[in-house]
């Protein structure tokens, strides 16, 4: 069965410092992986997706993620945090049933301190 585990429930960084949000996945096949962001009282927005093309995926707002099959990881990074990055981040894997169902990690809350 597909699953994702977000290794940190809460991450706190200072503005201007790097961001690292960690995600490990479990999949029998080459997975489709996503990172979504949810700002307070808002819906979810796609940051980036991996679909077996380049292993380094660039997303919106300066975020990127690297797919590492040997480590079954898909960590999200950003070189320099901005106050507006404070939000909830979800690592997501696509279900294998060809129905588009998504399996979510538990979420990581990113706090950005001035």
């Amino acid at each position: 069965a597909q699953s994702v585990t977000q290794l940190d429930s809460h991450v706190s960084v200072s503005e201007g410092t790097p961001v690292l949000l960690r995600c490990n996945y479990s999949s029998s096949y080459s997975p489709s992986l996503f990172w979504y962001v949810q700002h307070p009282n808002k819906g979810l927005q796609l940051l980036l997706k991996y679909t077996s093309a380049a292993t380094l995926v660039k997303g919106i707002n300066g975020f990127e993620a690297e797919f590492k099959k040997s480590e079954t990881s898909f960590h999200l990074t950003k070189p320099s945090a901005h106050m507006s990055d404070a939000a909830e981040y979800f690592c997501v894997v696509s279900d294998l049933s060809n129905t588009g169902k998504l399996i979510f990690g538990q979420g990581t809350t990113l706090q950005v301190k001035p």
């Binding site: 808002k42 819906g43 979810l44 979800f90 696509s94 129905t99 588009g100 169902k101 998504l102 979510f104």
Partner: protein
């Protein structure tokens, strides 16, 4: 371009009451989904639909029902509200099943008292 629209945004229900959460999308997507979000739990799939007239259960369907009479609309029905259904509900749609993003509505925050 409205995308996925959910109504209402907030609702308080009493135990045993019923209500329908509305979801409509204007992107002509065949695939639609209902998720619920509980604190610290990520999102869990309640029901999904792969096209008009076709629905199926997700991971947590108990206490809910859906219908899909048109491509645009995918309402979620709560028949006998229970405190365990206090949650934030998200509707989503996508245009194909694989390797594609889902578009989410703004959510409905439901409290059952």
């Amino acid at each position: 371009n409205a995308g996925v629209t959910q109504t209402p945004k907030f609702r308080i229900l009493k135990i045993g009451q019923s209500m329908t959460l509305q979801c409509t999308q204007d992107m002509n997507h065949n695939y639609m989904y209902w998720y619920r979000q509980d604190p610290g739990m990520g999102l869990k799939l309640i029901y999904y639909s792969v096209g008009a007239g076709i629905t199926d259960k997700g991971e947590v369907p108990n206490g809910y029902n859906v219908s899909r009479s048109t491509t645009e609309d995918f309402p979620l029905r709560l028949e006998l509200a229970a405190p365990s259904q206090t949650s934030v509900y998200f509707c989503a749609s996508s245009y194909r099943a694989e390797n594609t993003e889902a578009f989410f509505g703004q959510g409905t925050r439901l409290t059952v008292v």
